[in-house]
């Protein structure tokens, strides 16, 4: 392979004047993490609400949850980001659309909210499965103790269900981090975006993508280790994973 390797490229100044190429990649990493964390918060909150709705006895709530999940699962994430970014400001009333378009950091907010809602459908399905896997007796016992439906969910069902679905939630969080790379298409310069622009400026394709790859692997390792500790910490005594 007659490719011109140059690993020193990371310590050369980047054309943006914001330090070295390495600084450029690290700023992309920070943006990736910020987007992922905000998206994850949105996904957890909306996903939990929709997931609970899918388990309620009410037919209306169930159907709302069903339609919500189908809507967000049956469209590519890229198309959803385009809808939020290009279409939404146009079909809103003029003033609101203009405000959206002039929002500073629009790609960041669009990506975080779009990816958050996309992932919320997955969180909802996981949570529904988690609640469904609990023995029926738990809900009955909660009712027998005089807890209302809200209290039953708050004190009995949800604490159990969330602990059970912690492993799949970990992989959904990793997916959220990976999905932030799609935001490159609406101009967000996250880690993949920065690696791409580093490649365009310096022509050092493989160094740029190798560095991005290593950073993604590191983030993965940190998340997996952190979640393993969390899993052990919240384990339910008496269950297989428990102490």
């Amino acid at each position: 392979m007659n490719y011109n390797w140059n690993w020193g490229i990371f310590f050369q100044p980047n054309p943006m004047g914001t330090g070295t190429y390495l600084d450029m990649l690290l700023s992309g990493l920070v943006l990736t993490l910020e987007t992922a964390v905000l998206a994850w918060i949105i996904a957890l909150i909306t996903g939990s609400i929709v997931g609970v709705m899918r388990t309620l006895p009410s037919k209306g709530a169930y159907w709302f949850g069903f339609c919500y999940v189908e809507f967000f699962r049956n469209m590519p994430l890229l198309v959803q980001l385009f809808l939020w970014f290009f279409v939404l400001p146009e079909i809103l009333p003029k003033a609101a659309g203009l405000w959206l378009k002039q929002l500073p950091n629009a790609p960041f907010w669009t990506a975080a909210i779009g990816i958050g809602l996309f992932m919320s459908a997955r969180v909802a399905v996981q949570l529904q499965a988690g609640i469904g896997s609990l023995p029926r007796g738990q809900k009955m016992a909660a009712t027998a103790l005089g807890l209302t439906t809200v209290q039953g969910y708050r004190y009995v069902l949800l604490p159990m269900a969330f602990r059970i679905i912690l492993p799949p939630l970990t992989s959904e969080f990793l997916n959220t981090i990976k999905n932030t790379a799609v935001a490159i298409t609406i101009g967000l310069l996250e880690l993949t975006g920065q690696a791409r622009s580093m490649q365009e400026f310096s022509f050092q394709v493989f160094e740029a993508f190798t560095a991005a790859t290593i950073l993604y692997l590191l983030v993965n390792a940190v998340v997996v280790t952190g979640m393993r500790f969390l899993e052990r910490w919240v384990a339910i005594p008496g269950y297989i994973t428990g102490k």
Partner: protein, 230 residues
């Protein structure tokens, strides 16, 4: 808002969207699903084989692919494949492979990691007695896999395999980052040429939604049928 919605733009773009775009998307999906399944099954067999080294190699490959964003993998292969081609053929310059070949290789390599985990679960769902019975009948390892284990594993995993293929169908839209004319690429080219982003992106969303919805409805019916048999 919808007052100046121009349906005619969509109608005029239909041939381009479907003959060029959707054909690319569907061909890529079908070939990548097939290739990914074959390669993924091989990876699954490697992981389950008694040979520790083979299992480790397959495991590292799968974990590696699954921890990277697809967009980054697309970029990797887009730039890497010409160099690999040059190395394989001994040419003096990087080989230029078309957009289709490059994206097909990317998706086969990427999806294989996901399909291999599905196939591994499928193979592990077969009871131990079956391979034992097969070897009692005098079948070799390859014959046991070919005639006894894999057909059942495929069948058990069919709904999950199709679901993964629906995900793959949606993921192919990411070749947009290479400016390839897949369905979304075609829609976005028309959108930018005619300044009709709202119409084209909404239409693309509706088409993706409809196809995926019908397919996942089919999966649910299939699942119900398989559930009765088992």
């Amino acid at each position: 808002m919808l007052g100046n919605f121009d349906f005619d733009v969509i109608r005029r773009a239909l041939p381009y969207l479907f003959y060029e775009g959707m054909t690319f998307t569907l061909t890529l999906t079908a070939l990548a699903a097939f290739g990914g399944l074959v390669f993924g099954t091989a990876l699954a067999l490697m992981r389950l084989s008694g040979l520790k080294l083979l299992g480790r190699i397959a495991g590292i490959y799968v974990d590696f692919m699954r921890s990277l964003p697809l967009v980054l993998v697309i970029f990797w292969f887009y730039f890497l494949v010409p160099y690999i081609g040059q190395w394989l053929t001994g040419a003096s310059r990087p080989i230029s492979v078309g957009a289709f070949a490059s994206s097909l290789i990317t998706f086969i390599m990427f999806e294989a990691a996901y399909f291999s985990e599905i196939m591994r679960a499928g193979i592990q769902s077969i009871s131990r007695g079956q391979p034992a019975a097969a070897s009692a009948l005098g079948l070799t390892y390859a014959q046991t896999m070919r005639y006894v284990v894999l057909p059942q594993a495929f069948r058990n995993m069919l709904p999950v395999l199709i679901t993964q293929t629906i995900v793959l169908f949606q993921d192919t839209s990411l070749v947009y980052v290479l400016s390839i004319t897949d369905f979304l690429g075609a829609a976005s080219k028309v959108a930018q040429r005619d300044g009709r982003l709202v119409e084209m992106y909404l239409f693309a969303a509706v088409v993706y939604f409809t196809i995926s919805c019908i397919a996942s409805f089919g999966v649910r019916r299939l699942q119900a049928r398989i559930a009765i048999i088992r």
